[in-house]
């Protein structure tokens, strides 16, 4: 009799680390526990729009900025297996400031830092979505052998 065993990953105690841009979870897999670390790189792009205007026209010079977040996953199993993956998304946080981009870079960096909650939310959402993919990758590497 062929018995199909469900060889899934049971999500263990998912505890976020204290690190601002890091999320760690412990996943249970039939091959053994898997330690997964998600980390986020934040890149900021700037775009100068508008013009310095005087005399009857509102000054439209502004610096549009957009924070792009790349989430890196590093999963390590007991067997020494390491599974890595990265996923990037543009425009996780956006904003603008009056004036030249070159004069606003420090202030924009502070704006991004102040809105780190949004980056952390994005990091955790990506991590949540990744569990299914990680499960599939682990199953491919370690097929369940308990079949009778």
């Amino acid at each position: 009799m062929h018995m199909l065993m469900i060889a899934g990953l049971a999500l263990g105690a998912a505890t976020a680390s204290d690190g601002a841009l890091e999320h760690r979870v412990q996943l249970d897999h039939h091959s053994g526990p898997v330690a997964v670390r998600y980390s986020a790189d934040v890149g900021v792009t700037h775009r100068q729009i508008g013009a310095v205007t005087t005399g009857g026209r509102p000054s439209t010079l502004r610096c549009l900025w957009s924070a792009n977040v790349t989430v890196h996953r590093e999963a390590r199993g007991n067997s020494g297996t390491t599974l890595m993956r990265s996923a990037g998304q543009d425009g996780v946080i956006e904003g603008s400031r009056p004036g030249w981009c070159s004069a606003n870079r420090t202030a924009i960096a502070q704006d991004v830092a102040r809105r780190q909650d949004a980056v952390r939310d994005h990091l955790q959402a990506v991590a949540q979505e990744d569990h299914g993919l990680l499960r599939a990758e682990m199953d491919r590497l370690h097929p369940d052998t308990r079949a009778g």
Partner: protein
Amino acid sequence: MTFRELTLGAVAGVTVALAAASPALAQERPALGVEVNSDENRRGLSWSGGRVSPSADIYASGGAFEASGRIVALRDSDRHGGAALVGDLSAGASTTIGLVTVRGRVTGHLFGGAGFDADYVELGGSAAYTLGPVQLDAGADYAPVQDAIGGDNLYVHAGAQAGIPGTPWTVLAGIGHSSGKTNDPFRAARLRPGGDYADWRLGVEHVTGPVTLGLDYVGTDVSERTASAFVLADARHSGDRIVGRVRFSF
């Protein structure tokens, strides 16, 4: 349908289209600003009779399209028939080719409280080259023949602005020239007091967060003696002056 209704309708239509058609507008939310100028000075001419003038403005862009509105206190402007205020409504489009942005727009100037029908419309085009914190621009604004301005009016201009690296300071300079055909010299004096003339501007600007402080020297080659023959020329307020401004953007 009056010119005012046409202008308001056109700008409102563009604004609604911007909001409805462009997802980019949601990303680039409208920019709002309030400003106080020591003088509402345009093309070297005072529009507020040399008096302090508060204003408020909004600017929105979506994709290639942009629209702006500005309402300015003119405080019984001699130049505009005693108008208490002017609303400048503008709609246009721009495209960027490399480092050059080309813009086209139509602007309606709607006056409130003027002693005659002072509203007029003009078409404008400009090109701006931006490299880092340096911007060079040139353009022209043309107001077709209209009774309100006693003929037509062409304004050509060029300017340069540079942000000083590592500082909140911008220095700017500009020149312009106004010319046109005159059908009614009294009305034409509103925009060209005493005939064709040139204007220039040198200024500095300081931006700290949402607050912009500006100080400009503006001048013209308008002859006060020639201009004084026309009431709407407001000859006393058509020459050299220092203009300060405080702006809050949000």
